[in-house]
Symmetry: C2
Subunit: 307 residues, 2 copies
């Protein structure tokens, strides 16, 4: 295994920890060997695989439909979380947290079939640009992470996304951008109803949240969808701490990693003050819990996949 | 593609339908070609991949723990669904349906960690024999289906189980017996709580059912776990009808199959009178819905994997 395996990673403690871990778990006959079926690697999405600033992509995704809904139903402007989003009241949006974002998402897409949602979302992702960075959101994936996903799969790992974001939005680009199959995406979700429409069975999205995949719910959903404790986990916020600890405290070799967004020049610099998804407890306890902190500024040679 | 691909299947309409379908969807440049990522095949488990008579394996699995619980808490004998199960009152058990079975399962395993459950269940499966057939339950998997799973994977399909049975029990043998990875098992499930126990993060099973994966819930869970409409679906009861129609009514080539248990000599003969999991509507409507009925007696050369 040479340093060329991860060309967008600078040499340093983080890259060494990854290369060393993969070498150990794949060495047949070695003391830390892990059979391929157990090589489960999980990645958060927002802020771990792509940019989550100034707000999660989900925010921009729901906005146009929310505004259309509010024109038809002006009462929405008086009800939270809709009021905050319609007024772009950033303080209130942060107060309402990621759950508010999900509630808006659930409301604005309710009644769509999964097939119609897919078409709508793919079209949106293909045409809408990040308001500050001027590129498609799917061009704001992180190159070092895409390399790492490829590298892990080349060494027999099965790679999964475990995100607080909507599962079906991520599935619209996970195969193309990350090489992660749709069934290997875990995320927040809404309830659906199966019904026949013109002799075709359809899943219709309901307004009710089925799972808000954040914090302690992430290990639950890992159990539900994957059914196996991961040996590698990568996150970037306190919302990922439970899944990092679930990974790290299992028996045998384990690697838990945390991105620190400390690169104001190439991306954004933030941690505990980003109230929608703060990095505070996980950063403070990283040493104690054996979590490797990755500095975007120091450890990544390149940031974005397309740039 | 020769007839030798599925040696435990007799020549006939069902085998031809399978071979023809697989040939069409894998023929590059052909009108029905389906890219590998979209070759999703789903199988029910109880009665489709292994024997579900005289009662689903789940019934035998929970029984010992239920009897232990009832010795400590005699009040259980007065409450349904426990009363019916403790008294082995078959009429009441059938009245309570598959959901009663799940409620018993949820109650008797509540408080166990997922890791402890796994160890317990594997030991049970390795030592407990079917009361009538005198073999381990995992020896009562169907050889023609195991061949079909292998055959589909050899042709680029990704194979999944979508079962009304408990997801974590199936995961204890799905890799070894079916070649289906743990994350490719969808089933009924309970809520869990993530907590630290002696510095180790554990998922603790709760008594509350999270998903009863039957009938219209099956398409919902396919959407949640797989995120893609299957092109091949195989079931054996009315509980599978919604997922068979979800598969079959999508665009492009589709194959939906239904096992008819009509082989009293080698297995069991039953359909609409098996109240826990009847086959009635699906059988009556199979022609209209374009579902291929597989006769166990006529279409299978061998029944059990080990025999």
């Amino acid at each position: 295994m040479t340093n060329d395996s991860l060309p967008s990673w600078n040499d340093g403690a983080a890259k060494s920890a990854i290369l060393d871990f993969v070498a150990r778990v794949t060495k047949e006959g070695g003391p830390d060997f892990v059979p391929p079926a157990e090589r489960i690697a999980i990645f958060d999405n927002d802020g771990t695989l792509w940019c989550e600033q100034p707000l999660q992509v989900q925010f921009f995704f729901g906005r146009e439909r929310l505004e259309t809904m509010a024109r038809k139903d002006p009462g929405l402007k008086e009800r939270q979380p809709f009021k905050a989003y319609l007024e772009r009241d950033m303080a209130a949006i942060h107060d309402l947290g990621k759950k508010g974002l999900l509630e808006v998402g659930a409301a604005v897409h309710a009644g769509m079939t999964e097939d119609a949602f897919e078409e709508y979302a793919r079209n949106w992702l293909a045409t809408t640009k990040h308001p500050k960075l001027g590129r498609l959101f799917t061009e704001l994936t992180y190159r070092p992470q895409v390399e790492l996903l490829d590298f892990l799969r080349a060494h027999g790992f099965k790679t999964f996304i475990v995100s607080g974001g909507g599962i079906d939005l991520i599935r619209c680009f996970s195969e193309e951008r990350y090489g992660v199959a749709r069934d290997q995406v875990v995320g927040s979700s809404v309830k659906t109803r199966f019904e026949m429409q013109d002799d075709r069975g359809e899943l219709v999205k309901l307004a009710e949240i089925d799972s808000f995949d954040d914090r302690e719910v992430k290990p639950h959903n890992i159990g539900l969808h994957i059914g196996r404790r991961p040996i590698l986990a990568f996150g970037n916020s306190d919302g990922d701490l439970a899944m990092l600890r679930y990974c790290k405290t299992g028996p045998g070799p384990r690697l838990a990693l945390l991105i620190h967004h400390d690169d104001a020049e190439r991306e954004f610099a933030y941690d505990r003050e980003f109230r929608l998804s703060p990095l505070a407890e996980a950063l403070d306890k990283a040493d104690e819990y054996g979590i490797v902190v990755v500095s975007m500024k120091r450890d990544w040679r390149t940031v974005f996949e397309t740039g």
